[in-house]
Assembly symmetry: C2
Homo-oligomer: 115 residues x 2
DNA sequence: TTGACATAACACCAAAAGGTATCATATAAA
DNA sequence: TTTATATGATACCTTTTGGTGTTATGTCAA
């Protein structure tokens, strides 16, 4: 059965926006392995440090990373809780997906299997 | 446990982009209930048909909707399969996003069972 | 066939996004 | 203290995005 209330989208907007850029998603993949300073992140891209900093700011606004100061460095760290609004929004479609879809299901299943 | 292979992001880019705009997410919520022509979708927004058409094109490019012609009308219909690249990408972060993604997965799994 | 309607296909505009370059500031280290 | 380093902040440029308005095309119906 389909829900009738629309989830508050305002909460999710900044997160969706943060995820929309491939560089930012790549940064998340990097930070998944270890925390990094701005310079360390920038070392992985063919882009100025200032440009990387902008991406980090957007990620931070989207709640996907947290930044803590350590001396003159800024340590950027993934914030797993930040994905919650997106997952909530996707969850709104649960019933719909479940009712009709097979390809999506197999994608999810595949993921479940190699955990 | 963390995966080591980075998922192909090219596949997901158009989908993430399509989801990044609040109007487009709202359109998905609308289409979740019923299929609609462009005019019908536009009727739900304070925006010209042309503007709505652009959003529908982006959603289509992202694989999130499918359009079929019926006479002079274009019926826009949700394509749940289109969400798979996004869920795959999110699945890459299992260890981080943790329970919430698990919950989403189990909800979909549950739906699998009573098909 | 003719008229009404649903959409396509532009051209155009303003704002936002992604990027660079440059300079200032704070901190670690010599 | 002096010097090198890590970052912040600002200004500026270019491309993309979200939107409008107008005109053209195709299709249904009388």
């Amino acid at each position: 059965m389909l829900s009738t209330t629309i989830p508050s989208d305002a909460l999710a907007q900044l997160t969706f926006r943060a995820l929309a850029d491939p560089t930012r998603r790549e940064i998340l993949v990097l930070l998944r392995g270890e925390n990094m300073t701005i310079a360390q992140v920038a070392g992985n891209f063919d882009m100025t440090r200032a440009a990387v900093k902008k991406h980090l700011t957007v990620l931070s606004e989207g709640g996907l990373i947290e930044v803590r100061t350590k001396g003159r460095e800024r340590i950027n760290q993934i914030n797993p809780k930040g994905m919650a609004p997106v997952l909530d929004w996707l969850g709104f479609f649960d019933g719909f997906w479940g009712e009709r879809l097979d390809t999506l299901k197999s994608a999810i299943e595949k993921d479940l299997n190699h955990d």
